[in-house]
Structure formats: C-alpha cells, structure tokens
Amino acid sequence: MKSFSWFLHPVIIFIFSIVALGLSLFLYIYWYVEVSAGLQTVLRKTNLDPSQFVSWQTWMVIMVLSILVGIILVGIFIIFVYQMKANALYRLQNNFINSFTHELKTPVTSMQLYLETFRMHELPREMELKYIDYMLADVARLTENINRILNLARIEAKIFEGKFMLHDLVRVVEEFCARNGELFRMSTIRIHNPSGREFPYPINRPLFEMLIMNLLANAVKHNDSETPEVDISFLPQHNGLHISFADNGIGFERSDARKIFRKFYQIERPGRPQEGGSGLGLYMVEHIARLHKGKVRAASKGAGQGAAVTIILPWRPEQPAAQLEPPDVQQ
C-alpha cells in the first residue's frame, strides 16, 4: 500500500542511524582503549616520561563520548518526530482539501444544473419555485462554507473584529441560544447555572459566539438520537470557571480525546459516512479559548455514550474590571 512505503522510509533511516550511532560509539571506545593500551606499551618499552603525554582516564573518555552521542541521538529523534507529525498533517490537509473541494463544488454544480434546466425548458411555476428554493439553499450552503474558511484564516492570523469587553457569560449563552433558536429547533438545549451567580469575563463577543456555535453544531450533528440534547453548565471550580457542553450524541473513544482538537482531524467511523465536516470545528474552539486565556477539555465514556466538552476560563470571583487585560489583537 502506498502509505506503507511512505512510513517505512523515515523509520528505516531512523533505525539505521541509531544503529550506526551505537556502533560508532562502541568502536570509538574500543579503539580508544586499544590505542591507549598500545601507547602504554610503547611508553614502557622506550622508557619515556609518561607525564609528557596527556593521559585521560578511560572512564572520562567514555562519559564524554556517550554524552555527545546521546545529544546526537536526541537530536535525530526530535527531527524524526517532527517529520512524522508533518507527514500526518500533510495527509490530513490533503483529505481536507478533497472533501472541502467536494463541499464547495456540489452546491455550485446544483445551481448550474438548475439554471441551465430553466434555460432549456419552460417549467410550470410550482416546479420552478421548488427548484429556486433548492438553489437558495445551495447559496446558503456555499456561504456557510466560505465563512467557515474565512473565519479560520482570520482566527489564525489573529485578525478579527470586536474588542474584548466584559460580559456576563451566562447571559451571552442565553442570548445566543434565543437568537439562534430556529437553527436548533429540532434539539433541546438547556442551560444550568447552579450557583445562580453572574460570571463577568472579558470576551470578544463574535469570537465567543463562534465558539458556542461550533460546540452546539457538533453536539447536534454527531448525534443519532431522536432529539439531540445539549446541557450547558456553568460550574465555578478552584481553577476557574468550567463551562461544559454535554450531549447525548455518538461520543468518542478515550484515545481520541486530545486528537479531535487537531487541525483537520475527523474521527473515522467505518459504519457512518463522513459527515462532510471540515475537521476544523474543535480546532477553532481551542484556538478561540486560548485567545481568551482559557483551555478546552473533551471527555466521553465511549462510543455511543455522549460527550462533554468543557471550556475552562481563569475567572476569579472578585476581579475588578480594570485588572483584566485584553490580549493583543490587530484590529
């Protein structure tokens, strides 16, 4: 298989280098000992003053050589690991490009098809209207895709609108859900605030709303239940505010818990078709969380058992607004 030979070459080179390095260390030491012994014999035979020759203790030679070889070893290993990561990213990027190309070309194809059909045939008005609605849906789909890519580019370049201002996070989430009720009308979204208090924190509202949107969209999309449910909870803990988004979706294996935040990463589920996503949602969520000085964690009891994504923000109960410093942004 093509991917096998891809892997094999760097691994073989790596192993080969390690073996060569080990062998050379052994030989250096061995030859040193030989030469040293030989030199001792010459000295004895010729009665020369040994103090004229620099004599190193054998153990020191071995130590120095081993340290140097050790450093080279670590260097090779680090380069190897970087190479593997670069390969993996390249492959994921390739997959992304393929699936994204399809995502963009499909609505365009649909629109061209219907427009050319209209040109060729005169159809009854209700049929026309039906197909015009299809085309409008395709425009919406295209727009959404374009925005997704642009958002990603903007976030990575740290170019975004809106300043960081103090907002009560519970209110922000409540208002977001109310405003986007239409999108999530087939699902149940509940907000829990057991402590009942407000959580003012400096956020960039458009970005934070993008984060909420991504998490909710994920929870609802990767979900087989009759009614997808998402429970958003605000839990102040010792290390900050935990905002968790728990769903009753298809969950994931423990081993994927950190991987899903990687750029372009999508969990492969052989039974299900690829959901046509971009693999970028959680990557953006983590990025946005970091811009807000927070972090993200994902947990799931296993496949089919739902998942919970938690944003952890360094919120402190008594924090005067003046102390909170927004991060550096280009406006």
Binding site: T109, S110, H121
Partner: protein
Amino acid sequence: MEAADTIKILVVEDDAHIAEGLHLNLTLQNYDVQIAANGIDGLRKWKDWRPHLIVLDLMLPGMDGLRVLQNIRLEDERLPILILSARGEAADKIKGFGYGVDDYLAKPFNLEEFLLRVKRLLSRAVWQPGQGERSPGDRESVWSVYVFGNNRIDFTTASAFCRAGEIQLTEQEIKLLKLFISNRGKPLSRRKLLEIGWGYSRDTTSRTVDNFMVRFRKYFEDDPQKPVYFKSRRAVGYVFEHE
C-alpha cells in the same frame, strides 16, 4: 434502435439536489430514471432493475464510486457507465478509465454536454448484441482463457480444467477469479474482496471470503495445505501469483 421511453438510466448520486436535477432533465428527455443515494443501493438497483446506462458519482457515502464501478465491471463490461465527479484532475480521470468507465465528466458540468454524452453512449451500446444481459456464452469479452500452472480457466464457458478435473464455475467464483487475476501479485484485503467481489451485502462476512479461498485452493492447488497460487498474507489478505 429501441424506443426512447424504454431506456432506463440509473443515477447514483448522494447530493439530493443534483440527483433530482438529473432525474428531472433525463425524464424530460424521455428516459426512465431511478436514483440511488449510495453505492450499496446503487448496486442493488443495478442488479434488480437492469438499467441501460449508469451515471455514477464518485464521492459516495460508505462504498466509494470506484468500488461500485469495479463491482459492476466484474460482471458486465459492456454496460455504459458515465462518471460525474467533483474530482476532475487528470489523475482521477486516468484512474476511472483504468477501471473501465466509458465517460468522465467533472463537476460542475454543462447540462447540454452531459445530455449529449449520455445520448451517444446509449446509441453506441445498441450496436452491440446482448447489451447488459448476463449470458456468458455470447458475450465478446477480453476474458477468454487463462492458464496458470496446470490449471486452465475458460471464461467463455465458465469452466475450468484443474486438479479436480473439469469443473463448472459459479458466477461468484468467476467474479472472484477475474478480480484476483486483474490484481495479480497485489494483495487484496478481505474488505476489498467483499466490497468488489460481493458488493458488500449485509449477509456476507469475511468467513465467506475464507470459504471461497479454501474452495479455490482445493480446485487449483497441487497441495491445498501449501498454497502456491492463492496465498494468504497475514493481516493483509490474499494474493494471487504465479510465474
């Protein structure tokens, strides 16, 4: 030439809008059209409905379009198949043609061009006898006789001269043999064998593949316990090779 309204076209396309648009246009051209939204449904409709032409998208959920193509070609090399795909690079086209597709159109496409290509493919298909029919006897085929070791497979009569004498081969056995021969020297995983050889239907398991291999070895190997032609590769699958 057959009357236009009895010509059946199967469209295998997962995007609902495009599928309906194709259905609409082909129906307006007086063809009889059915849609399949994924590879498995497409193969089922091909077997049950026997279309005269198939319009195939490549990026399908579950089974990939190329696997569907290979599956069909194992049984029917004549059926006109047109690929309609967002993947329009030369490399993709070459791959498609390598697997035996008759035409390849990249998306987004021009409707008039598409309709004309469909029309042309259909009119060419009519000139050859036995279009789309499964009579191994009168089909002119690139597969005739294949010899390896002391075995001789005759595809035209679906029979083989081998260790066990002269035997009749079942359709499934012929398909698998064709698959192995066209991939001579290349290991095939059980999954690939299931998808291409059987169209991966729900009641086949990889035990089925293993049972077939036992059968082949019984027919064609001098010593079935030590296979020379149908070898297994651990964790990869099976491979067919000979000098």
